[in-house]
């Protein structure tokens, strides 16, 4: 009796192992878990699809109908005459401010923190501060822009009848440049941290100075990573609307049309693509073709922003692969 029990136990175990090895025993919990993960992920992708479909469907048709006119025209009060040139112009100048101010200052700060800064309380505080700045809501940067740039410039003309003299393209650009500064610093610092110490030592070993090591070895090695980070932050700046509303962007037409590169507009009222989209989205959907006009404007912004993102992502993947070989 005892013998046979033992025997059948062994038999059972043998079968069980064999079944396991062949993957026969169905792992129910595992399948359910996996399925729920996939559902979650599918939701994420479906949403992206829905957003794209919603926008692409409405927008492309409108954009094709209006053609170049839509890009170069001014913000008119009829949807079939509406153009987004003023928004594109403002967005272009915001980009210029980010490139001219955030990039050098942000990369410089990253170089200081990674290559020069002693490991002490002050440095750790600056780093903590930068991480926190990156988490400050964008609308708060708008408050800063309003308090510093707009109010300060308003103060220059206290008796002017025209309010908000400080709500200029320059104020908007400066505000967004400050907004993305911490992101530029963090991504650049990460890229610099990834530079192998052996490379620095090689430079120092032949008598290079610190700045030479940075310029000749660290920065070239970190360049793709820095470029990726700066591109992502540029894309972020171009899509921001909330701070611009606070700085006093115009949700409508600016009036007479000045050309893209005229420097004078830096001191004039501004609008930008995300602001135009805000204004368009607020129009009643059932009047005219505003829904499609909004979708078309979004499409233009998305092309710019997603293109920048895509280039950044592809570039990073390319270099990651190259470096890992």
């Amino acid at each position: 009796m005892a013998l046979s029990t033992l025997n059948s136990g062994a038999e059972y175990a043998k079968e069980k192992v064999a079944a396991d090895l062949q993957g026969k025993s169905f792992d129910f919990a595992g399948a359910v878990f996996r399925l729920s993960l996939l559902t979650g992920l599918a939701f994420g992708i479906l949403i992206l699809g829905a957003v794209m479909w919603d926008v692409l469907g409405d927008g492309t048709g409108f954009l094709f109908d209006r053609g170049w006119d839509f890009i170069t025209g001014n913000a008119k009060s009829r949807s079939d005459e509406y153009g987004i040139f003023e928004g594109l112009r403002g967005t272009f100048w915001i980009g210029v401010f980010v490139v001219v101010f955030s990039f050098p200052i942000g990369i410089g700060a990253a170089i200081y923190l990674e290559e020069y800064a002693p490991d002490n309380r002050v440095t750790r505080f600056i780093e903590l501060n930068i991480r926190n700045l990156a988490g400050v809501p964008s609308v708060v940067y708008g408050v800063l822009g309003l308090a510093i740039f707009v109010r300060a410039l308003d103060g220059f003309y206290p008796n002017s009848l025209d309010k908000h003299l400080g709500s200029t393209t320059a104020a908007a650009g400066a505000t967004l440049a400050i907004l993305v500064l911490p992101i530029v610093i963090i991504t650049s610092a990460e890229a610099i941290r990834a530079v192998p110490q052996a490379l620095r030592e090689g430079g120092f070993g032949v008598g290079a100075t610190k700045w030479e090591v940075i310029r000749h070895h660290v920065l070239p090695y970190a360049a793709p990573g820095i470029f990726t980070g700066t591109l992502l932050s540029l894309a972020r700046a171009l899509g921001e609307a909330a701070p611009l509303i606070l700085v006093g962007g115009v949700l409508g037409s600016l009036g007479p049309k000045s050309s893209l590169f005229e420097l004078e507009q830096l001191g004039e009222r501004f609008t930008a693509m995300p602001l135009m989209i805000t204004q368009l989205a607020k129009k009643p959907a059932f009047v005219g073709d505003w829904n499609s006009a909004t979708a078309a404007a979004i499409l233009v912004l998305l092309v710019v922003v997603i293109f920048a993102n895509l280039v950044a992502i592809l570039l990073r993947n390319h270099f990651e692969k190259k470096r890992s070989n």
Binding site: L199, G203, G205, G207, A208
Partner: protein, 273 residues
């Protein structure tokens, strides 16, 4: 042979005079009270079990330890009569005279030519194209690499074999025409053939340069060096901290044939370490 050795001995100059040097990483004392004089135009080998502070000692000769924020050197470390850790001394100037070859080959991700030309270029003492070409060629020849790379000077150094990369790093180090070359286990990442080539190379280089080499390969020390310093670890009874100390220093022949210290004997005969 004998005569040559004697003439060298008559004009012997100390390139390094080390007395009571301690190196700390933070609170941890990596080496304790090392005193040693290293002569010019000789090959001096540092041997000892791993973790005994050979690298730490070597890197304090060209202020490379400055790159580690926690590292601190006390005691007197003189290079040709000048205290290396004097406040006025510029580490960059020191490293231009005292070159270094690292444990793992670390060529720059640039062309073979630019790797060699980099040092002279930043030092600013060679500018003209032809002059630089000559310098690159002679450095690569001294590093016994010229024949292998003369047709691919413009291609990336990262495409070369490990042994070639390490010889390129030697060429890079001597291109700045240094006084001393420090080598930290230069062959540890290489196969025996590549190792053999680098050992031959060192014998040739010693006429022009003083060489200090760290190795934990005793045969290598015996083959290439004139003097050998044996470092060891002392484990503190109460705190379990390991501190590097210099046990014995002397002519390589004597160290290997007739060591005075028992610990050295144990080590060179392979009974420990």
């Amino acid at each position: 042979m004998t005569i040559e050795t004697e003439t060298e001995d008559t004009d012997n100059v100390n390139i390094f005079e080390v007395s009571d040097v301690n190196v700390y990483y933070g609170d941890f004392r990596a080496i304790r009270d090392v005193s040693i004089d290293i002569e010019a135009n000789e090959i001096t080998a540092f041997i000892g079990p791993s973790g005994c502070g050979k690298t730490t000692m070597l890197r304090s000769f060209n202020r490379m330890n400055d790159l580690i924020p926690t590292a601190r050197v006390t005691g007197e470390l003189k290079y040709r009569g000048v205290s290396l850790y004097d406040k006025r001394v510029d580490p960059v100037e020191v490293r231009r005279r005292i070159g270094m070859v690292f444990q793992k080959p670390n060529p720059f991700p640039k062309s073979v030519y630019d790797n060699v030309a980099y040092g002279p270029r930043i030092a600013g003492n060679v500018s003209k194209g032809a002059e630089m070409d000559d310098l690159v060629e002679s450095s690569l020849r001294k590093a016994a690499l010229w024949d292998e790379v003369k047709d691919r000077l413009k291609s990336s150094a990262l495409g070369m074999s490990g042994g070639q990369q390490q010889r390129l790093c030697i060429a890079r180090a001597i291109a700045t025409n240094p006084d001393v070359v420090l080598m930290d286990e230069p062959c540890s990442a290489l196969d025996p053939i590549a190792t053999g080539r680098i050992e031959e190379l060192m014998a040739q280089l010693k006429d022009e340069y003083s060489i200090v080499i760290v190795t934990h390969n005793m045969q290598q020390a015996a083959r290439v060096s004139d003097k050998t310093a044996f470092f060891s670890v002392e484990v503190s009874e109460e705190s379990d901290l390991r501190t590097g100390i210099l046990v014995e220093f002397g002519s390589t022949d004597l160290m290997f044939s007739n060591p005075t210290d028992e610990r050295t004997e144990n080590y060179v005969t392979g009974r420990f370490g």
